[in-house]
């Protein structure tokens, strides 16, 4: 510390003296800046000259294996690299042109269940190998692998194939019995036996409860398997060392039925063989057949549970190198639409097997830059994490002469404000999106370049129907009707989004039932009816959202609307992406902001996920009527009838309101005028092979 009384005198120094000190530093700094400035043309001018399309692609792709990814941005890259049986028409929805298969020679049976695809013999992988029907069979077998180590997220896209679901979900009871022509009972009559197990009666769900304390609805679930006089004992069932061999009949029944035939181990099956009555076989299954089924399962275990692909007879078959036959689980008139989804693309058998096993997952070694081989119009050129990914012309592509671009550069720009600014600075041909804050500016400054197009997607709220107060449909409906959808679309988003009256957006022949509209009066009335009279006694409710800005703005608006129209204060919970997802899977939420983009152009892409046990349901809601209607549609070939059934199904669902629709998406993006042959498409899956850069 300085001593007291000392006066501090600053030393004066004039500026010219001072500059001397810093001259060297400053000079060096400027030199390095000057060196950097050499290219004066914009990125776009350079790209145009090289005939390369530069597009914003939102984020770093999680991978390039068509069987393992599930995001839109990955699909944008995969669509350039790979090609399916048919390819989207550049400007017409629900229309296909030649892909690996020759469009005009595709044949199908009258009921749309059997399809034959003649493949183009000129179709080649980027290493020159021909693309054959065997590649397709291999691909579908790979995607459907029942191996729990196989992390395919989208295998259910192949459930359209006959036996596809049974093979993938390893329902070997079905595979062993239904595919055997000598089996004495047809599968349709056997299938109601308890193969799957009943997760509603899993004893651990009733921890700490006594059977006698169950309410009527809960007890019904058990009574299905028990005689009137029998009562299970949860305490015993939940014991760690529960011994089914010594347990009471009631406990044995609950034990076996909660597990199901397909999931019993060998020892349990052997025990069951002696006590066939313990399991619910449903009607029409004679004891002989029961024994036969159990025997088959036991022998399957004895064989070491071999992979059942050959036995499963999944509906895909290579008639010869260049003919693929596909058999479906039911009439599917829109099959061609589905095959445009990347899960239906082929992967190169010879390359996958060269760099690992069929299911070498997690790292997909064959998709690394140095290994990857693809069959699309383009092949991978560069891939740098968080930096850029570039594809170039595939010389072996069968239609290479009609491919216009020499390459596409995908920029992982997750800051969309930066992306719009880059577009303004001539760095991008196309942006991934335009953030809603910038839409007014884009309308003003880039009025010719701003695209606002319909998109098959819905923004909605999932509601946890398992907990109070949302186990009450009236409360759910009250919340749905209290959302001023139009204000959200027009005031906040301004991107042309439409208020959603249901979960399925309107497109094609589908008639939306239109059950949800903003109606604060009715909302209030419904809330009153629900029994929650005084709003202060209403339970705490959290509205879960991600930590993105747009999600937050919507959440804040919703919060204010419910407060205003229902007098209920909801708390917003912002969580980062993985926690946000996990909380949904764990049903650890009240309401959550969510969105869904259609995978293909059919209402089922929005409806299938609400079946009981669906991986993306997460609401706890299920309805037998709804599921029956979906199954009915599955077996209806006539398109208007089918759409009617699906519309009915949505009506059933929306009456119960397990989700609160907010709006139907639009795509908002910026596109430079020199990009040609890029037309509005409902799924926004633009086929890159037709895209062109106009030369000046």
């Amino acid at each position: 510390m300085r001593k007291e009384g000392e006066k501090f005198i600053p030393i004066g120094l004039n500026l010219s003296e001072f500059i001397f000190v810093t001259k060297l530093n400053t000079l060096l700094a400027f030199a390095s800046l000057a060196l950097a400035s050499c290219e004066s043309r914009s990125d776009i001018e350079v790209a145009n000259e090289k005939n390369i399309l530069v597009i914003g692609n939102s984020n770093e792709p999680k991978g390039l294996d068509p069987h393992l990814v599930s995001g839109v941005l990955e699909s944008n890259i995969i669509r350039a690299l790979f090609e399916g049986l048919v390819v989207d028409h550049p400007s017409m929805d629900s229309t296909s042109v030649d892909g690996v298969a020759i469009r005009d020679q595709i044949q199908h049976s009258d009921d749309f269940t059997e399809w034959t695809f003649p493949l183009n013999p000129e179709a080649k992988w980027s290493d020159g190998h021909p693309v054959t029907a065997h590649d397709f069979v291999f691909s579908y077998q790979r995607l459907l692998s029942p191996d729990p180590n196989w992390p395919a997220k989208y295998a259910e896209m192949l459930y359209f194939l006959k036996n596809g679901e049974a093979y993938h979900r390893n329902k070997y009871g079905q595979l062993l019995c239904s595919t055997d022509p000598d089996f004495p009972l047809e599968w349709d009559r056997l299938k109601n036996a308890n193969f799957d197990g009943d997760d509603k009666i899993v004893p651990s769900k009733y921890l700490g409860k006594d059977y006698s304390s169950l309410n009527e609805r809960e007890r019904q679930r058990f009574l299905k398997y028990l005689n009137d006089s029998e009562t299970p004992d949860f305490e015993v069932l939940n014991q760690k060392n529960f011994d089914y061999q010594e347990a009471s009949i009631a406990n044995q029944k609950i034990f076996f039925n909660s597990i199901g035939l397909d999931h019993l181990d060998k020892e349990q099956l052997v025990f069951l063989r002696e006590n066939l009555k313990l399991l619910d076989w449903s009607e029409h299954v004679s004891p002989e057949i029961q024994q036969l089924v159990v025997d088959r399962l036991i022998s399957h275990h004895e064989l070491g549970k071999p992979n059942l692909w050959n036995q499963a007879k999944v509906g895909v078959e290579a008639i010869n190198d260049h003919t693929l036959k596909i058999t479906l689980r039911g009439p599917t008139p829109f099959l061609l639409e589905i095959t445009k989804h990347y899960t239906w693309y082929p992967v190169p058998k010879h390359v996958v097997l060269k760099h690992g096993e069929m299911n070498t997952a997690y790292s997909s070694p064959w998709t690394r830059l140095e290994n990857i081989v693809s069959n699309g119009a383009f092949k991978l050129k560069t891939w740098r994490t968080n930096h850029l990914l570039e594809v170039e012309r595939n010389p072996h592509y069968w239609d290479a002469k009609n491919v216009k671009l020499d390459g596409i550069r995908y920029m992982p720009i997750n800051n969309y404000y930066t992306e719009t600014r880059m577009f303004g600075d001539d760095q991008l041909h196309l942006t991934y999106t335009v953030p809603s804050e910038l839409i007014p500016m884009a309308k003003r400054k880039y009025s010719d370049q701003l695209r606002q197009e319909s998109y098959v997607g819905t923004r909605f709220l999932r509601v946890n129907t398992l907990n109070e107060p949302f186990n009450n449909p009236k409360v759910r409906r009250a919340f749905a009707l209290a959302i001023d959808q139009e204000a959200i679309c027009e005031k906040i988003l301004q991107g042309g989004q439409k208020p959603a009256s249901g979960i399925v957006p309107p497109f094609g022949d589908y008639v939306v039932p239109g059950l949800i509209h903003f109606d604060p009066e009715q909302a209030k009335a419904l809330l009153k009816e629900s029994g929650y009279e005084s709003t202060s006694s209403f339970p705490d409710i959290d509205l879960l959202t991600t930590n993105s800005d747009s999600g937050l703005r919507e959440a804040e608006a919703l919060q204010a609307m419910w407060q205003k129209h229902l007098g209920i204060k909801v708390r917003i919970q912002q969580r980062e992406w993985t926690t946000y997802l996990q909380k949904q899977y764990d049903s650890d939420y009240d309401i959550v902001v969510a969105g869904w983009i259609g995978d293909y152009l059919d209402p089922t892409t929005f409806l299938e996920m609400w079946v009981s046990g669906g991986g993306n349901n997460n609401t706890g809601w299920s309805s037998k009527v709804f599921e029956d209607l979906l199954r009915k549609a599955e077996h209806t070939a006539d398109i208007p009838t089918r759409m009617g059934i699906l519309s009915e199904a949505e009506k059933t669902m929306m009456k119960d309101t397990p989700v609160l629709p907010i709006y139907w998406y639009t795509t908002n993006y910026l596109m430079r005028p020199e990009v040609k042959n890029w037309h509005p498409l409902l799924l926004n899956n633009h086929p890159f092979k037709f895209v062109e850069l106009q030369k000046n």
Partner: protein, 306 residues
Amino acid sequence: MLRIIISRIIQTLMVVFLLVTFTFFAVRAIPGNPFASDKATSPEEQAALEAYYGLDKPLHRQYAKYWKNILVDGDFGDSLAMKGRKVTTLLAESFPVSLKLGLLSLFLGVSIGIPLGIIAALFHNRWQDYLAMVIAMAGICIVAFVLGPIFQLSIAKPLDWLNVAGWQRSSDIILPSITLCFGVAAYLARLTRGGMLDVLSQDYIRSARAKGVPKLQIITRHALRPALVPAITYLGPAFAAIITGSFVVENIFLVPGMGQHFVLGITSKDYNLVLGLVLFYGILMGIANLMSDLALIFMDPKLRNS
């Protein structure tokens, strides 16, 4: 000298060991699932994934395995969030970028901060002092996520040769490094000013002035070195921090650097990536501190003897 270096290296290694141990258990205590994805993960899949990455084993076994992999195979493990990519690959790809950017910003920060600090001290409590400090502090008082977009719109857009964002042209480094350098400049200006004020009040400077030594000579010959001591002490850890990237700047300017791994690693519960980063950062920090200590010894004769 050699003894200092060796003991410092040992110290650093111990610190890194403790850090990794602490982080190892702490990140696993955070709620969340590294394998959550936009499609539901079934319990079987979850179990299979955990088995694949060895997360199903007891913690102490995982811990032992982690060290074994690093020490025996030099393997930091696979990234859990970015499937198929090794942590070492991610570091090897992103570190050079951050290093380049960090070095330029440090250079700019030093070139701006130290002169400003000296000016401020020389004109203590006069308008030059105030102006210098206002300039120096402007960089930290305006947050980077405002400064960045303003630069993009006001500098990059009008200039043909300068891009708004990206990492392809050699000029792409300019805006992010300017945005980053302000923080360094502000601290350095402050520390240099303080150091200089302190030195200028010392007896030996006063006597030098009394003897009529030219001002410039006093500053360059006598005052500068000791006045820079606090700045150099700061530069050690700052160096390690700045060459490992900044999330905000990388996000705004689309720089494929290390900064985003820190944030994404921990928010996506990518245990291996977080541990790899902590390890790497800890070692860098050790090296940087050692360098700054050595520089101090070089600068200050008193320390050299002790």
